[in-house]
Structure formats: C-alpha cells, structure tokens
C-alpha cells in the first residue's frame, strides 16, 4: 500500500492544550487525531489508564466532547451500553468510542472486548499501546514485547514471552475492521479513523504510543522511536477487513530491530544473541503477514 497522498487534516481541535500527559507521550496524539477525524458528535469512554489522567481532573476537561470514565475492564461494555441507548433514541449519527490502554485491552478488558466483538456492537475501540501498565508504574502487560524491562520484569528476568497478537485475536472475531496505527504516522491514523466512521459494527485500532518514562527513552525521541518501530517491523502498519482481507503498508525504509532498541533503555540488557533471536522472530512474523496479505 502506498503512502496516503495529500491528506488534509482539519485544523479544528477538540483537544485542549494543557493536558496531563508526560512530555513526549504518544497517547495525547492518538486522542487528538481521533477527534479531528470523528468530530464533536463523539462520545469517548475511558477506562482506568493514563488517558483517564490526561483527560483532566474534575471540574476540568481537556476534551471538547462527552467523556465517560469507567472501570478498568469495561471500556467495550460501557460503550456498548451507550450505543444501545442511542440506538433506542434513533440517534445514529454519534460515534461511540472506547479509548483504552494495552492493559485494559489485551488483558483485563479482553473479555468485554471479545463479547462486544462477537456481538459486533457498533463501537470504535481504540487501544493506544504503550506496551505496559504505565499508570500504575510500568508493570508488564501481555503487550510488553519479548525482552523488555518493566518493573515486574526486571532486567535479569525480562519479559520472556512474545507480545500478544491482538489484531489476530480481533480478526478471528470477524469484525468489519481492525487496523494498526502509529503516532509517527498521523495522516495514516487520520485516514483510518475516517474510514472507520463509514462502517458499522466493531472497528478496532491498535496504535503504538511511546512512553518516555516507561520505555526509558528521551521525550524528544518519541516520534523517531515510533517511526523506527514501523521501519524495523516491530509494529507494522496494516488493516484487516472482515477478519480475512489483509492490507499491509510496507515501510518506506527498513532497519534492524537493534536500531529501534538502541534508542530505549528498556532493551539495554539484551545480548547480541538475544537481539538476533528477536530479529528472527520479527522477520518471520513480517513474512507471515505478507503471506496473509497476498
């Protein structure tokens, strides 16, 4: 897939400056482009995660749309309830969006998400993936990549299992649309969010979102690191329609995973051999992705 050309992103903002994220955090970028694409007729459901802080404390709000905070594991089911209510009132021009971290999506919220996906509830589910439980202090999640340090997978016992393949899991539910995204590619994000608004049913996004304190990287490198994640194929950009039609976007440049790792201290303990093993796994996954798309 070629790079989307001449995407015009509206200048209107639904996200105020002065939010509560750390410097260099990817998560606000996800919300910002999401709302640029979806507009003000949007309801955002936020479970416990960094975004529940970023949105601002009572009586403030950094968003110009309705926000409902809910329990950690209920983003999908709360959104489904809101949709049911709107449907009964024949208000069908409103986007109902769950905006959740990887923990609330891959782990504790997976049951509710799977339920909503199986029912094909008419919601947009956006997971911004910072690859750990950042809000509670950088503990591993099932999205933490193999080899990474977290506070519950210390360097000597780093994460020894690969990241859960959430898109495959969602695709297996045969939902109309599942896509990956990356904050380093805002046009791509915008186009995909827009595309989602033209569909009905459960639309799922998995968006890589750097976290400087959690990835032990510098704030000003966030976008570069995010781009390296796609260039190194650690986080490829692709879409899955109806659980079977794969569309993969080839990165404009290819780099070894080590280039991606070297910008973050969370992989600093890895030996050359360990990095080689990861490289091999990443290559194999990329090949199989291309096979799915062919």
């Amino acid at each position: 897939m070629a790079r989307p050309k001449k995407v015009r992103i509206p200048s209107e903002e639904f996200f105020h400056p002065g939010h509560y994220a750390c410097q260099g955090c990817g998560a606000p970028i996800v919300g910002r482009y999401l709302l640029k694409a979806l507009g003000k007729k949007t309801i955002i459901v936020i479970p416990a995660c960094c975004w529940s802080v970023i949105q601002g404390p009572y009586p403030y709000s950094t968003l110009k749309v309705n926000v409902i905070h809910t329990a950690f594991e209920t983003a999908a089911s709360t959104a489904a309830g809101i949709r049911a209510s709107l449907e009964m009132q024949k208000k069908n021009d409103v986007n109902v969006v769950a905006l959740a971290g990887d923990g609330g999506t891959f782990d504790i919220g997976l049951q509710a998400l799977s339920g909503a996906a199986e029912r094909n509830d008419d919601i947009i589910y956006v997971c911004y993936d910072n690859e750990a439980y950042m809000n509670t202090g950088i503990q591993r999640s099932s999205s933490t990549p193999l080899g990474a340090w977290t506070t519950t997978t210390p360097g000597t016992h780093y994460k020894d299992r690969p990241k859960k393949d959430i898109i495959q899991i969602m695709a297996a539910h045969r939902i109309p649309y599942a896509a990956t995204g990356n904050v380093a590619y805002p046009e791509d994000l915008y186009v995909k969010f827009k595309k989602a608004t033209t569909m009905r049913g459960l639309r799922f996004f998995h968006i890589l979102s750097p976290c400087p304190p959690g990835w032990r990287s510098s704030s000003e490198d966030s976008i570069k690191i995010a781009r390296y994640a796609t260039w190194s194929k650690m986080h490829p950009l692709y879409e899955v329609y109806d659980g079977e039609k794969y569309v993969v976007r080839k990165p404009e440049k290819e780099i070894p995973v080590n280039d991606y790792f070297s910008l973050q201290k969370r992989f600093a303990h890895l030996t050359e051999r360990e990095v080689d093993t990861i490289q091999q796994m990443v290559d194999e996954r990329w090949e199989s992705l291309l096979r799915l798309a062919s």
């Binding site: 601002g56 926000v67 309830g81 809101i82 049911a84 009964m88 009132q89 509710a112 339920g115």
Partner: protein
Amino acid sequence: MRKVLMANHAVSIGVKLSRVSVVAAYPITPQSQVVELISEMCADGEIDAKFLKVESEHSAMACCIGAALGGSRVFTATSSQGLLLMHEMLHWAAGSRVPIVMTNVNRSVSPPWSIWTDQTDSLSQRDTGWIQLYCESNQEVLDSIIQAYWIAEKVNLPFMVVFDGFYLSHTNEAVDIPEQSDVDRFLRKFRPKFKIDVKKPHAFNSIVYPDAYMEFRHMIKESMDTVPAVVNKCGAEFGKKFGRVYGTLEEYRNEDAEISLITSSTVTSTARIVIDEYRKKGIKAGLIKLRLFNPFPREDILNAIRGKRKVGVIDRNYSPGNGGVFAQTLRANIIGNGDIPEIYPFIVGLGGRDVHLGVLNEAIDIMASNKKIKAGEEIWLDLKK
C-alpha cells in the same frame, strides 16, 4: 387482569409495564426466566427494548451504566455469584448516580455450591450505594419493580428489588397485572438528571482530588437520607392508584405486641401464621416485615419497636464474624435512642433450608423464656448436631 405467574415472570412483566428500553443480562439460576421472558417479549415486539446479551454480569452492569447515562431506562437481573461478580460495577452505578433497576433473586454463595435461597449475596452488597427492597409475594414483586423506577429516578440512585430463589422465583401465584395506561400515568417518562448530550459535552466520573471527593459522597448521603420517605410516599400513591399500599415496612398484629419478630421476604408469610397461633395462646406476639433494607428505615423501625419488651430478628444470611446482617444493622441503628427492646438475633434457613413453623416457634419460645443474649452473639436455629 389477574394471571397466575411465577415471581420471575412477574418481574419480566413489571419491566415491560415500566417501559424499559435497554436490558443487558447474563443468565444464572434461579434468575434465568426473568430475562428469558424479557428476551421473548423483545423479539415479539411486545417490549420496545434493546436486549444486550452480554458475556458476563460485570459487563451487564457496565452496559446498564452506559445506557442509563445515554438517557435510557434500563434493567438487569442476577443472583448470587453474578451479583458478586458485579460488585465493582455496583459502586460505579451508585457513584454515577444512575437510576438502574435490577432484580436479585436471593441465592446462597459458594462454596460449597448451592443454588438455593439465602440473602448473603444481596446483603453483602449493602455498602455499594444501592437501595435494597425485599419482597414477600409475586404481587409485591411486580408492584415493586414499577415503584423501584419511580423511586430511583426521583433520588438518582440505583435500586435492587430482591426476593427468595425458588421459594418465590419459581412459585406460581395469582397476580393482578395493572393496565399499561395506569402504569404510564403513575410512572412518567424517564427524564434523566444526568445524561450524555452531544450538544452539551460533559466529563462524567472524572478523577477528583481530595478537595472534592468527600462532597460527592455527601451528595449520595443526602439522597439516601430521603429514600425512606420517598418509599412511603411512592407506596401510598401506588395504593391510591392500584389499591395496594406499600411502605418501608409492614406491621402485623404489632400494635400492642410485647414480643415482636422482624422478618423479610417469604419467611414473613410463615411468621404471620406463627403470630396468629401465639395470639391464640394468649401471648402478645407481633410481626414487623422489613421491606426497605437499604437505607435502613430507622425512624419507621424505631416507631414499630418502641414499647416492645423483646424483638427477634430473623436473618436468612450470615456474615462470618458479624452474624446476621439485619440484626447487626438494626442494632447499629437503634442504639442511643432511649429505651430500646432486647434484641434476639436468629440465623435461619441458610442455603435454602426450610424455615418451617417450628423454627419460628422456637425463636419465640427462646424470647419468651427470658434467655439472655450476649452482645454480638447470634442463635442458630434448626442446626443439625
């Protein structure tokens, strides 16, 4: 119209008459028939509602909260482990100030596995901020669902209508089904106080700092404090319209009683017979049926027990380390109110064991025998040696 109905179906019909528009539920014995009939009525177009067949009770309650904030009148039903799984979301519902109505069919909690009745499931949710009301008959169940919406929507708190598994859920009784037009006049259209409106964006349930959290809790207190009076008002107005008056409690031959029993749910019906028998023997026994449990109707209870020598509390539940929940709550609410009767806390009928006439006879005999009870001690009746 009169119809023979099991309590579970009385709930479903109450839900239909209340014009509920979103239902989200997950099956569990002995509740399942409640939602089976609702789903049938939805499919037949008899109810204009969306039924979300969710994958768990936890999600059911999350859906209900979302739908209620969306501006819909919502309903769910559960029992025992299902209610326990909902626990976290029960707090969310109360804190969100949404008037969700739920039925909990009382069933004991596991282990060991048991599907029979026992009130420990609902009473262990006492502190979640839900109004709780216990029913004695299928008629009361149907009427209480309608009243529950009336009350919940006035005070912006969620409402749990509770009754005994199998003893009521699966028992058929003649029930007077009110006319839809009368219910519509009694229970007006839902006009939510707090709801999502894309034209007026708000943030619901945001983080609050210590300078504000306490005030949110205090607002719940202020609403909760009004509930007993609202329950009485609603029950009286319901009586005017439908001929059946309800309140926070109901007294039976209690006026001049010296020894009174406090009961809830179906045990009350057995207790009426026992009271009649003791009256025949010349013992001044009386009965107080507690309908509203949470908030505890303190004033009404104080008026009902004032002047009694002894009051026995029949608890079909057990909180390990604390005893019966009704007795504990009663004691906590009456201490410091002057001359109060001696309280006898009884534990009966756990896990569906039959509370037959003999069990309640024993309770009254113990009270009449002047046996002293130590504070915090409870008496287990009909326990096998």
